[in-house]
Symmetry: C2
Subunit: 297 residues, 2 copies
Amino acid sequence: MQVLYAQPTLVEDLRSAVNARLDTLVPVGHRGPQRVNEAVRYALLAPGKRIRPLLTLLAAVDFGAAVGDALDVACATEMVHTASLVLDDLPSMDDARLRRGQPTVHVQYGESTAILAAVALLNQAFATVTRAGRLPCETRLALVERLSAAIGFDGLVTGQENDLQDRGATSTVARLESLNHQKTSVLFEAALEIGARVAGAADRSIDELRQVAAHLGLAYQIADDLFDVSLATGPQSKDLLKDANKPTVVSLLGAERARERFGHHLAEALKLLPARGTGGTPLRDYIMVTFAQTRLC
Amino acid sequence: MQVLYAQPTLVEDLRSAVNARLDTLVPVGHRGPQRVNEAVRYALLAPGKRIRPLLTLLAAVDFGAAVGDALDVACATEMVHTASLVLDDLPSMDDARLRRGQPTVHVQYGESTAILAAVALLNQAFATVTRAGRLPCETRLALVERLSAAIGFDGLVTGQENDLQDRGATSTVARLESLNHQKTSVLFEAALEIGARVAGAADRSIDELRQVAAHLGLAYQIADDLFDVSLATGPQSKDLLKDANKPTVVSLLGAERARERFGHHLAEALKLLPARGTGGTPLRDYIMVTFAQTRLC
């Protein structure tokens, strides 16, 4: 597959802006107890691809908003994502010991502090959207609601519960993809929609972005599974053993057909994304580059 | 102490309204996975005194708002409180087996489902405030922020972390009361302030309510500890052993001086609460009745 390194500077600049802003939004020595504060920063500021906040920012840019208007709400999506990782890794869930190249939060700080850090992160995500002062009141309220929809009964909570309860029994690609949708696509959806709403995009465009997100989430999970399988040697950045006994699209279809399915979902997502003349848009280019790589972390 | 059963009908009516509304806000068969949905309802709808939503509703009524305007945001405070109980009871925290007269959520549904249920409850609290359509946008946004302040680095997360990390070493009444403030007063504060803000109360009144809440939280914790100590026989509604090795105001001062201190905090709270002519207000009467009893659950 041809990989276009279009506008790497823009993406790098945005990723740096996200990292810098996250650092500010959860400052050192926040008035809370140092241990939870440290654990939150440990989880949130560890090296990550920042895919969700980049989706928010690039969607905002694509639809004509200023980066600064979307930066805080973009950071909120990363807080939610990080909270979900901290929870998923817990001993009572996936019991993972390695994440983003470092010991998981509960290994480093203990289980109770990890749980409280996840709660603090979710809470900080809502606080951050609420305080995004550049946005009108109605927009902020809509984005709080959008974020809560991605987390709650129809979102990540569902995905994680189904993953824990039903995954072992999941033996069809359709059911696995429904699970992957709940675990991954819902936050991609929210991230893209939040960016588009900051820019005041039309409802029709937002419907299209939802379909883009659905395909991206499924492509992402397959790439993630392909990466796990192909990583026979070399330094590990996350705990692979935890997923060893779970069925995946790769274990059900084999690597080659899974790779085809990945290509299908990526192509469908790109087809739905508006191009600009013969070139792409920043969002389209970013997705091509990022999702064409298998090392997604 | 003289106990006034003033306006029992109003309080009972409000409690019933809260229970009925909570049931609606987290409906059976919510689209999410049944197990988390069930666990949330199990925790939230178990018999509770509903102190926090009653504080919200009575503060709202005291300052002239309609009950209906404050009902949803009152329910949100109960969701936050219930989430904090579910988390506090976890094996990695207080490891309690009994709460509100029934097995704790993790005993009944497993640890991972209990954690996800707590996350779903916190999330639903934010969603509920966001959707409280009778309130202006600015008010809803302010209340989301107020709720997040009660949960996060300056709120319940702090309280629980400090309780777990420092409680064993806490040997002065001043430090214990600071801890009790973080664990209890912060949500009382938020509950009262939220009710007052719904009614458009002045900032000065809200400052006074904060002081009321601070005293109430401390009184409440002492009463709770006195109740634990005095409960030698009879049916238990919560797990008392979990607190057996923790220092409390009662273990530091003895029951009699603790009872005096309880009386002091309650009197200070009542002194700050506006009376109406020679009688009380609904809020003042409720606090007198509720906090003069030791069985607070």
